[in-house]
């Protein structure tokens, strides 16, 4: 059959645009970096980018169901505080600690999911409330910044592989292969997209709505805790920082939007969100390279985000019944 390519382009437009924009920005950045693109520059950039990218994947999982997870940042902070306490010691203890951190993250996500599914509450209020609880738990765990992390693990995740490839990129790739792709290709993932696009139609088609929501929120929590673990490896410590939590939550939404994932749910891909996250980070780096005062950075990032969001209102031109504007 002819025309497969054009349909493929139509479906992946957002992801491809995010990829293209990131590549363009990163090329400019690398070409203008005072030290040139060496392995160390790349690794630092990758570590910062990957941290946000992981949170962005977590956000994508919930956003495709037409929900939103405002607790991702707080789950990340909680995982960071927990990891700085239990991911230490012998390899066996460290491994056990990692498992513990991931379980707590998955549990946080599962709690969000259960409240949203069975309480029929809006995801936005649910996750604001649970986010506050998760932050409170983080603070109880670590009143002052500190702690430690198994250095071998930290160096392995944040360092370079032979050949200068940043290890964090391998971690990101592994997450895509192990978490995202199976989700995207599974019946549950299909159901998550379906219910995000039209919950009534999904129900009428006999799609497992509740299970899909539960899995989406739980995986989101799990990924947020991976981000928390990775943050611990970067900083070698834990900190119950409310500012960090809120910033990452908001940036994850920015990354999702820049990555072409629809906040209305039902379309977009975590791959797009990853490039959205990398792009968002690169904007900051670009401003640095061009000697723009750091205080201007939030203004520029805000403007880029606003421009990206405005693209979404193009669809209004097609509406013929004004009631659809308010529905």
């Amino acid at each position: 059959m002819t025309g497969d390519g054009s349909y493929w382009l139509r479906e992946h437009k957002g992801t491809l645009l995010a990829f293209g924009a990131f590549v363009a920005m990163f090329t400019i950045y690398a070409a203008n970096h005072p030290a040139g693109l060496n392995a160390n520059v790349a690794t630092t950039a990758a570590n910062k980018g990957v941290l946000l990218a992981i949170v962005a994947i977590a956000q994508t999982l919930v956003v495709v169901t037409s929900g939103i997870d405002l607790s991702v940042g707080m789950v990340m902070v909680l995982a960071n505080c927990l990891a700085s306490t239990i991911v230490v010691g012998t390899p066996a203890m460290t491994a056990l600690g990692v498992v513990g951190v991931l379980l707590v993250g998955a549990l946080c996500g599962a709690i969000n999911g259960i409240i949203v599914i069975f309480g029929r509450l809006q995801p936005i209020v649910t996750t604001i409330a649970t986010g506050a609880v998760y932050y409170g738990a983080a603070l109880a765990l670590r009143r002052v910044p500190g702690g430690d992390v198994n250095a071998t693990l930290a160096d392995a995740l944040t360092g370079q592989l032979p050949g200068g490839v940043p290890a964090s990129l391998v971690l990101l790739l592994a997450l895509v292969l192990v978490v995202w792709l199976p989700f995207r290709r599974s019946v549950i993932g299909r159901a998550a997209y379906a219910l995000g696009s039209s919950e009534v139609a999904a129900y009428m088609s006999g799609v497992p709505i509740r299970r899909a929501k539960f899995v989406a929120y739980t995986l989101s929590g799990l990924l947020a805790s991976v981000a928390g673990l990775f943050l611990t490896c970067i900083t070698y410590s834990g900190e119950a920082s409310a500012a960090n939590g809120s910033t990452y939550t908001l940036y994850s939404i920015a990354a999702v939007v820049l990555g072409g994932v629809s906040l209305f749910g039902g379309s977009g891909s975590a791959i797009g969100a990853i490039f959205g996250a990398l792009m968002f980070r690169t904007i900051g780096d670009l401003l640095f390279v061009f000697n723009v005062e750091p205080l201007w950075q939030p203004l520029f990032q805000g403007m880029v985000l606003l421009a990206a969001i405005c693209l979404g209102s193009l669809r209004l031109l097609r509406i013929r019944n004004r009631l659809d504007l308010y529905g």
Binding site: G3, Y7, W8, S186, V187, S198, G206, N321, R322
Partner: protein, 531 residues
């Protein structure tokens, strides 16, 4: 005739001794106080097309919702292959081999055609969806539905309504059902797709599927159906082989509602020579409204009739300025106006008000007070320099509460605390506050008690006599008969027939709603004149 039709239900199709593939026995369903279905009987055979007929609210939709597992019956049994079955969800019904094509589409707009077709049971390999197998499955289903020119990778939201309906049919077929229910499946189709669907349905019948076909198009039923069951007032009143009853006899079976309301007397009006208060010329909007023209004079009540969903709502919304991209002209007092939204339509020189169909979402702010709800539309006349004149507001609100006899313990109570009938009075009252010159009503008495209904009929008559022009859409034919000076019957987005004075009776309304040919309506009218 009705008596032996009843017997036909007891022993369906005596020529076939084997038990039916699917049967409903004494199935009933209630929504609150309303009986949607009572003691329904239905027998469906493999390899046959079974048409289900009935007017608005006859129970057809409830019937198929029960068959499809969307709602559970209160009483009665369902038998599949003679074994009792019960469905807790749509997936249960699907697992039992019942696939339903709903009027409101069940497709997911952001997914591709192939994703949609395979949605309920996608082919899997190693636990993940096998896209290549899914693609083959979709292509096969599309071909079977006569829609092989739809690309399986196209996104559903990019397809036209007709194409989407074809995908919907392919999706149902992909489940390999034994029973396929089509609810007004052809109403969204283009002529080219309709002919294809006829062939497809005949082929499916030969393959041994049982098809349940709900349609209001008599010619379709004549062309396709083997068996017919007529519903009226939630009851299955007759089952018979297709072609054994005339269209006129079928109309007779479909009507026969109990007359349970008294309507205010109409004073006969002489046709007015003045310019009509509202004139519509060649109004069109997408494929839903085609070339609608009408004239509405001061003091006149015009009814909009026809089966539900023939463009009546869209006509009212278009007049109120809600729809974008309408074609044609609207004149108020002979002067063309551009209706760009409700804020324009309610302006003093136009004076239009629309009573929406869903009072809970489009009519009222339920948590807000009775007073706030009543004064919303009139706030600009009740305020000076943007500040609401509380005394004037209270007086105006009290006047309306008295006039409509709204029963409430105080105007400070939330609107949501009132009964359904009183809520509907609030919606009416809100618009009476602006003293509308043109009143558009979208099925205003749905779901309210008989007493309030009669108060509303009385009110409409009084408003008309005071000089308002009223355009009144109702799904209840009795109301149209009882309230209106003229009735415009709509079909497929166009006005197909105008009934005036004594012509307005239920037979004429039903047969013109079904768009039965001119000679039949003539016959019906003659019948009506005799009785």
């Amino acid at each position: 005739m009705t008596a032996d039709a009843g017997a036909g239900v007891e022993s369906p199709a005596p020529s076939r001794s084997d038990m039916p593939l699917f049967a409903m026995r004494g199935v009933s369903k209630r929504y609150g106080g309303v009986r949607a279905l009572s003691d329904a009987e239905l027998s469906i055979e493999a390899g046959r097309i079974h048409a289900v007929l009935g007017e608005n609210g006859a129970g057809k939709s409830t019937l198929i919702k029960i068959m499809a597992g969307v709602v559970a019956p209160d009483e009665g049994r369902m038998l599949l292959d003679g074994e009792p079955v019960a469905f807790d969800s749509p997936s249960d019904a699907q697992a039992a081999g019942i696939a339903c094509i709903f009027q409101e589409l069940s497709l997911i707009p952001d997914l591709s055609v192939a994703d949609n077709i395979a949605i309920s049971n996608p082919p899997r390999r190693f636990g993940l969806i096998d896209r290549r197998a899914q693609r083959r499955m979709a292509e096969e289903a599309l071909a079977r539905a006569g829609a092989d020119n739809i690309h399986p990778l196209a996104l559903v939201k990019d397809l036209s309504l007709s194409r989407r309906q074809m995908v919907e049919i392919a999706k149902a077929l992909a489940r390999k059902p034994r029973i396929l229910i089509l609810d007004e499946a052809t109403s969204a189709l283009t002529a080219a797709d309709v002919t294809k669907i006829y062939d497809v349905l005949r082929r499916l019948r030969e393959d041994g599927l049982a098809l349940v076909y709900i349609s209001h198009r008599m010619h379709e039923i004549a062309e396709l159906a083997d068996e017919c069951t007529v519903f009226c007032n939630g009851r299955s009143v007759a089952s018979f082989p297709a072609g054994t009853r005339t269209d006129n006899e079928i109309v007779e079976l479909m009507i026969g509602r109990e007359f349970n309301a008294v309507f205010p007397a109409r004073s006969p009006r002489a046709p007015s020579d003045d310019a009509p208060r509202l004139e519509v010329r060649h109004l069109g909007w997408t494929e839903r409204l085609n070339d609608v023209s009408l004239k509405l004079h001061a003091g006149e009540v015009i009814g909009l009739g026809g089966l539900d969903g023939q463009g009546q709502r869209e006509l009212l919304l278009a007049l109120f300025g809600v729809l974008r991209g309408t074609t044609g002209e609207v004149l108020i007092d002979g002067r063309p106006v551009a209706l760009r939204g409700p804020h324009v339509a309610k302006r003093k020189d136009i004076g239009m008000a629309l009573i929406p169909e869903d009072r809970k979402t489009e009519g009222l702010m339920l948590p807000m007070s009775v007073r706030d709800n009543l004064s919303f539309a009139a706030l600009d006349t009740l305020s000076h320099l943007g500040v609401v004149d509380a005394a004037a507001e209270r007086d105006a609100v009290d006047r309306i509460v008295r006039m409509l006899a709204i029963r409430t313990d105080g105007t400070d109570l939330p609107a949501g605390s009132l009964s359904g009938g009183n809520q509907q009075k609030l919606v009416l009252g809100k618009w009476l506050m602006i003293a509308p010159r043109i009143l558009l009503l979208n099925d205003p008495t749905r779901g309210i008690d008989v007493g309030t209904k009669q108060e509303i009929y009385q009110l409409l008559r009084e408003l008309a006599e005071a000089g308002a022009a009223i355009l009144f859409y109702s799904t209840d034919y009795d109301e149209l008969v009882g309230c209106c000076d003229r009735v415009l019957v709509m079909y497929d987005g166009a006005v197909r027939r105008e009934l005036i004075g004594a012509e307005i009776n239920e037979r004429a309304l039903v047969s013109s709603a079904l768009n039965i040919g001119a000679e039949v309506s003539h016959h019906v009218a003659a019948n009506a004149a005799r009785t």
